[in-house]
Symmetry: none
DNA sequence: CATGAATGAGTATTCATTCAT
DNA sequence: TATGAATGAATACTCATTCAT
């Protein structure tokens, strides 16, 4: 008799154990993939890192590819959670934007491996899959569109299609984390967030030049 | 007189042919690397594409890696040339900025393979080399710093360290080409350039909100 | 108590099987290397010979080179054992020498592949390693020096530095196995051993000539 | 008749030039093959060493293999010449033997590359060719047989088939040059020659032991 | 369930040889 | 005749995946 195998009353939470193990594998995988790249990381190395057999890793993830994609997905999930958490603390929409920018930069500042994962995913799975990053971004963008619609309606943000704002912010942040990571930029994260927000909110031109530029742009559009 | 020792026995080398062949290899390589990734592209495939033997490719590039890096370098060189060409046609500094943004986006719009190359380089050669993109960027940035110093001095751009401007523009453009390429964004390139310039120059806020934000930002800084 | 942590999850390793497999691989490798040379022997061929996958061979030996050197080492070990076994059966030192000579020649007569291995090792690993043969020889020579010292002391062998004897024997045997193998000499092994021992023990000269030669040599030395 | 093919009076000695060039190539090849082994020596390297094109080497030797074998053959030729030269200076047969032993050892002492060539030839061309060394040896051995027949007839060497003597000497010398070269033996060449001759001529046993051994050997043979 | 032994497809690189010039 | 550009056959080694224990 294989016996109580964890006693009467219960045999509880094998599921929990399984979930925890899954997380552990994903974390080890993230670390190693980010450090060595997809091709140069052996599944064996992931198993070794955890002190388990290689077969065990394969019980949790069908293929090396699935393991990698799950790791990328996890990273994006956590980014989303981190951003949501601070956004929800703010009432004012502009403050929400500011909070989101801070949280976004802070997340990748604290988890540079995640930037690596974004790159690696593209390099390794170009034609097999829509990038995880954009999947997550698109799932989120509707909410920001609404927010901007409100801001335009209340006259706090200038008139323009709201997509212009979300895309610009999105691109700027995306480019920033890459540059931070690849070029090894050492600007303190807080200052960087301020700089970005200031430029996004106010632009670069001086007051007199703004007027001139607006007029010129207007002419161009109506011509 | 045996003539200026100018009768090199044997088949003479044709430098021009060599240079042309080199370019051809690089172009085929760019195409294939971009299409399939570094690891999945055989050197054999590059040779086949050109109808030459594999050994010939190796006569021109010591290793597959060298071939790849040369392709990436060529792409960046051409970007630089394309940008310089249009910038030099403009006299007004703000027009120069606008021209550069257009040219940058137009280049990657016309050569999406180059975006791929940037990604692949990072994924494959993370620790072996400073990314080609940033090497070229850094070689260029001084010129833009000066330009912005002039704009600040003449009061056309608001007071701020010029690095803030160059970095913001740089990051925004970098993020934009990636998003365009990865997420398959279909916004017409010209419109995109306008959107980006408008936001960079004017910011997002409405006039009344600008005042409020400036005041708040000022308070924060002095507190 | 979960029992002496002696329940290693998973398939248990079978050390004996591993050792046997190792031997088998070494034997196949010896055969093939000897037949075709180092360069012309594929690791795949070794695997095929055993009906296993190539990867399996690499589980046991890190590189083709390591496989080869292990094969050479095994051959020398066995030579040593074969020689020791017969030497230990003899009490008289001269008989021991005779037994060693017989065993040495018999070993290479029975295992001509081993002669090949000696050659191949030198040809392939000249600058990477002290030849296995000489490593083993040097590990053994002390014992023979002692034996000869005893023989000189008891007046059974003429006065001379004992190294002269060991080196001469060693060189003669070494040259003999090479010549046997390379030139395809067909002299029966037993006769060959007798011929060698007789010459080593008695020399080639006739009695009268010995006297003359000794005198001449003496003159030369004292002059 | 294809015309004077050699012109009127003069344009002399192309043949001589060709022969000289051939020698040069062979010398460079010997050096490089000995240093790096057959497989690791590129024909290109031989060409570079001489400052000529690779095609030129191929004009003189059909294949890399032919080049190697010619180099080995040249080495053996020179050995033969060196030995003959000193032998012919001696009148007494025993002195001739001594002179040959000296010359043989001196040759390989001065040209260690030749030892390498012997090895390499065996390793690379085992089944394609009778070793050059033995070809040359066999071409020579008849002469030594005669010499020994004379020595036996005149009672200067003990009664025995003359092959016993030539083979023993041959094997001992062969083994000696290998050991010298492989094990890096540093015994001065002159001393080594004396040691070898003394043992060959006188044997190792003391006078009393000789008698005993001879008797025992006799018993064994007649039993 | 966990393990790790076994497998074999997949690939960059070298270099002897040829032959157009 | 000499050259060296072009060629492509040949080959060790890795590592994702499977499956017997």
């Amino acid at each position: 008799m294989p016996a109580a195998r964890k006693c009467p009353r219960g045999r509880p939470r094998d599921d929990e154990l399984i979930a925890r193990r899954r997380e552990e594998i994903l974390e080890a995988a993230t670390r190693l993939f980010a450090a060595d790249g997809f091709a140069r990381t052996d599944v064996q190395a992931v198993a070794d890192e955890l002190g388990v057999g290689k077969g065990t890793v394969y019980r949790y993830f069908e293929t090396k590819e699935a393991l990698f994609l799950a790791a990328a997905d996890q990273a994006m999930h956590r980014l989303r959670e981190a951003v949501h958490a601070v956004v929800d603390e703010q009432a004012d929409p502009l403050e929400q934007i500011a909070a989101a920018v801070h949280a976004y930069l802070a997340y990748f500042d604290a988890h540079p491996e995640c930037v690596e994962l974004l790159i690696l995913e593209r390099a390794a799975f170009k034609d097999r899959k829509k990038p995880t990053y954009f999947e997550h971004r698109d799932a989120n963008v509707g909410r920001w569109h609404e927010l901007f619609r409100g801001l335009v309606a209340t006259g706090r943000v200038r008139e323009a299609p709201v997509e212009e704002f979300t895309e610009t912010i999105s691109d700027l942040l995306y480019g920033t984390i890459f540059t931070n990571h690849f070029a090894g930029r050492r600007e303190p994260m807080e200052l960087q967030a301020h700089r970005i927000l200031k430029t996004l909110f106010l632009g670069m031109l001086s007051e007199p030049e703004r007027a001139r530029y607006s007029r010129a742009a207007g002419r161009r559009c109506t011509s």
